[in-house]
C-alpha cells in the first residue's frame, strides 16, 4: 500500500512538489509570525519578569501596621514575598572594615528575609550576617566572607552611646537590588537598631529571633507580587485600605495591555492565516483525491478493501503535509535568521526578535498533518463510497 502510494507520488513528482511548495508557501509566514510573537512578546515579558523591581510594591509613609496585616499579606496567593520594615529615619548604620582604621561608611539598612526576590543568591541570612551592595563592598574594601563591624550611635542625656554589632558579609547584592550604598539585614537587626535609637534597648542588647520580631507592629513593608499581572491590583487594593504605596503599577499595566493587544493581534493574524492555510491545504488534497477517483475505483474493483483504499490518499496527504511543514520550517528558519541579524539589539535587546523552537515546528507539522488527514479522509471516504463498478465502466 505504501509502495503503491509512493509510486504514484513519484510518478507525479512535479505535481507533488507543487503541492508541497504550495503548502510551505502559506505555512512559512505563519511560522515566522509565531516566531515573532514568541520573540518579541515573550522577550518583553521575560525582561520584565527578570527585573524583581517590576513586581515590587513598597509602602512609602510610616504607619503602625499590626502583625495581622502581614499575616494576611503573606497568606495572599498573589503575594510571593513580604517583609516589614522599620521607620525610615532609624534605618541607617555605620559600617567599618575591622582590617582598616577609620573606614566608617554610613549606609541604608534594608530588611530582607528568606526567599527575597531581590537577593536570589542569599537565602536564609543569619542574624549576624549582612548582604552589602556592590558599591558599599568596594568602598569598604570588603569581600564576601569578611567580618564587618556595624554600629549605631545615639545621644542620651548628653552622653554618646554606641551599639556595636560584629557581623560578617554573607553576600553581595545584585545591582538590581540596590544602586546606592546599602546593607540588607534580617528583621531582628533592624528592630534592634530602632529600639536602640528609641532608647528601648541598651548598647549591650543583641538581636531577638525572627519569630519574636514578627509579632511586633512595623512602620511599613516591601512586597513582591507573584505575577506581573497582580501588581496593579495589589497596588489598588493597598491604596484603598489607606496604605500609601509606590510600585510600577502604571508601567506594568501599560505593558500588560501591550502584551494583550499584541497577543490579540498575533492571534487574529494567525487565525485568519491559519484558517486560510487549512482551507487551501484541504482543497488541494480534496482535488487530488477527486482526480484519483478513477484509479481508486479501479483498485476497488480489483478487490482492494475499503480501509486500504482510504490509506492511499491518507499516505499521500501525510507526505505532502510533512514535506510541506518541513520546507516551511526551513524557510521560516532562514527568514528568522535574517530578521534576528537585522534587528539585533534594537527591538528586544539581546534576545532574538524571532524565536523558533522545535516544539513550534512539531506543532506546525502536527496541525498540518491533522488538517491534511481530515481533508483527505473526507475526500477519500467520498471516493471509496463510489461503487467499484465505476472502475470497469470508465475503464
Amino acid at each position: 500500500m505504501l509502495r503503491l502510494a509512493l509510486a504514484d507520488l513519484w510518478h507525479e513528482r512535479v505535481l507533488f512538489l507543487c503541492s508541497v511548495l504550495g503548502c510551505a508557501a502559506v505555512l512559512a509566514p505563519l511560522i515566522v509570525l509565531f516566531g515573532l510573537r514568541e520573540g518579541v512578546v515573550a522577550g518583553l515579558r521575560a525582561e520584565l519578569l527578570e527585573d524583581p523591581r517590576a513586581r515590587e510594591v513598597v509602602s512609602v509613609v510610616n504607619r503602625t501596621l499590626e502583625p495581622a496585616l502581614f499575616e494576611r499579606l503573606a497568606a495572599d496567593p498573589r503575594v510571593a514575598f513580604v517583609v516589614p520594615r522599620t521607620r525610615a529615619l532609624s534605618s541607617t548604620i555605620v559600617l567599618e572594615n575591622p582590617a582598616r582604621v577609620a573606614s566608617g561608611l554610613r549606609v541604608e539598612l534594608l530588611p530582607t528575609a528568606a526567599r527575597d526576590p531581590l537577593l536570589p543568591d542569599s537565602n536564609g541570612l543569619g542574624a549576624d550576617a549582612l548582604v552589602l551592595s556592590a558599591t558599599a563592598l568596594e568602598r569598604l574594601g570588603l569581600r564576601v566572607g569578611d567580618p564587618v563591624l556595624a554600629s549605631v550611635p545615639r545621644s542620651r542625656d548628653g552622653q554618646r552611646e554606641v551599639l556595636t554589632l560584629p557581623m560578617s558579609v554573607a553576600g553581595a547584592a545584585p545591582l538590581s537590588a540596590a544602586t546606592r550604598d546599602a546593607a540588607f539585614a534580617t528583621l531582628p537587626v533592624l528592630l534592634l537598631v530602632e529600639d536602640f535609637l528609641d532608647g528601648a534597648a541598651g548598647p549591650q542588647a543583641r538581636p531577638t529571633s525572627e519569630d519574636a520580631a514578627r509579632t511586633r507592629p512595623f512602620a511599613g513593608f516591601r512586597l513582591h507580587a507573584a505575577r506581573l499581572e497582580d501588581v496593579p491590583a495589589l497596588d489598588r487594593e493597598l491604596r484603598l485600605t489607606g496604605i500609601e504605596v509606590a510600585s510600577r503599577a502604571e508601567a506594568v499595566a501599560g505593558l500588560l495591555r501591550l502584551d494583550r493587544n499584541l497577543a490579540l493581534l498575533f492571534l487574529a493574524l494567525a487565525g485568519a492565516g491559519g484558517a486560510g492555510y487549512l482551507v487551501s491545504l484541504g482543497v488541494g488534497l480534496w482535488a487530488q483525491v477527486e482526480r484519483k477517483r478513477r484509479d481508486l475505483a479501479l483498485l476497488s474493483l480489483l478487490g482492494l478493501k475499503r480501509r486500504a483504499l482510504l490509506m492511499l490518499p491518507l499516505i499521500q496527504a501525510s507526505a505532502v503535509a510533512l514535506m510541506g511543514a518541513l520546507c516551511a520550517f526551513a524557510v521560516a528558519a532562514a527568514v528568522a535568521g535574517v530578521l534576528n541579524r537585522a534587528f539585533a539589539g534594537t527591538v528586544a535587546g539581546e534576545r532574538p526578535v524571532c524565536l523558533l523552537s522545535a516544539a513550534m515546528g512539531a506543532g506546525a507539522a502536527g496541525i498540518t498533518l491533522a488538517g491534511g488527514v481530515v481533508a483527505s479522509m473526507l475526500a477519500g471516504l467520498r471516493a471509496a463510497g463510489v461503487a467499484p463498478a465505476e472502475g470497469l465502466a470508465e475503464g
Partner: protein, 241 residues
C-alpha cells in the same frame, strides 16, 4: 458450478428509457467460456458488474459464486468480504485496459497478485511472454500501443489465478484485425489457467468465430409500465436436460 443465479434483477438508467435487467436463470461452470451478446445499452456491462461482485442486485432469489451466497453478502453490507472475493477469485479486463499510469507494466500485472496477497514473479514473466509483452515489462502504460495495453490488462486479470475472468468489450478499442487475436488470446489463456471466462460483446459473430458459445440477450420494448427489459437466461445443460 461456479456461478448460479436465479431470479436476479437490477434496474438501471439506460440512454433513454428506464431499463430493467432480468436474469431469470444463469449458470456457468468452472473453466467454461461464454460470450454475452447484445446491442449497446442492453445491460451487458451491468450484468458483468454484478457478476464481478462490484454492484449489488436489486433482487435475487439466488446468487451463488464459488460456493458463497453473494446476495446475502450484499444484504449484510459485507463489502470487505466481497472485496476479498473479488481480489482472490475474479479477474477483470476493462474496456480500455484501465492500467495505473504510475506503475510499470510489470507492476500493473503484479497488482492483482499483491492485492490478493499472492506474489508470483515467475507467473508475471510467463504471462508476459505468452502474451508477447515481455519486452515491455519495464515500461509505463503510456509508452504502449492500445493492443499492448489490452494484453497487459489480460495478463493482470490472470496473474492472481482467478476462478472467473470478466471482460467488458475487450475488442471495442482495438483494431478489427486485433480484435480476433484478443478474443482468441483471452480464450486460450483462460483455458490454460483453468479460469471461467465471460466476455461482453456487441459483435456475436466475431465471438462465435473465435469459438465462444454465445448467449444473446433478449430485449423487450417498454410495456405498459414504460420500462424496457433486457433478459439473459441460461440454465445449465444438466438442468435443461
Amino acid at each position: 458450478m461456479l456461478l448460479s443465479l436465479r431470479g436476479v434483477a437490477r434496474a438501471y438508467r439506460g440512454d433513454a428509457a428506464p431499463f430493467a435487467l432480468e436474469v431469470p436463470a444463469f449458470d456457468l461452470d468452472e473453466g467454461e467460456a461464454l460470450a454475452l451478446a447484445g446491442p449497446s445499452g442492453s445491460g451487458k456491462s451491468t450484468l458483468l458488474m454484478m457478476l464481478a461482485l462490484a454492484a449489488p442486485p436489486d433482487a435475487a432469489e439466488r446468487f451463488v459464486f464459488a460456493g458463497q451466497d453473494i446476495a446475502r453478502h450484499w444484504r449484510a453490507g459485507r463489502r470487505d468480504a466481497l472485496a476479498e472475493l473479488r481480489a482472490r477469485r475474479v479477474g477483470v479486463v476493462p474496456q480500455t485496459g484501465g492500467l495505473l499510469s504510475y506503475l510499470s507494466v510489470e507492476g500493473n500485472i503484479a497488482l492483482t497478485q499483491r492485492i490478493a496477497g499472492r506474489p508470483d514473479v515467475r507467473r508475471v514473466r510467463l504471462l508476459a511472454e505468452e502474451l508477447g509483452i515481455a519486452a515491455q515489462l519495464g515500461k509505463r502504460p503510456a509508452e504502449l500501443s492500445v493492443g499492448q495495453r489490452q494484453r497487459v490488462a489480460i495478463a493482470r486479470a490472470l496473474a492472481h489465478r482467478p476462478a472467473l475472468v470478466l471482460a467488458d468489450e475487450p475488442t471495442a478499442s482495438v483494431h478489427p484485425e486485433l480484435a480476433d487475436a484478443v478474443l482468441a488470446l483471452l480464450k486460450r489463456e483462460c483455458a490454460a489457467a483453468g479460469a471461467a471466462l465471460l466476455v461482453a460483446t456487441h459483435d456475436p459473430d466475431r465471438a462465435a468465430r473465435a469459438g465462444y458459445p454465445v448467449l444473446a440477450c433478449e430485449t423487450r420494448a417498454p410495456g405498459t409500465d414504460g420500462i424496457a427489459r433486457s433478459i439473459f437466461a441460461r440454465a445449465s445443460l444438466a438442468q435443461a436436460a
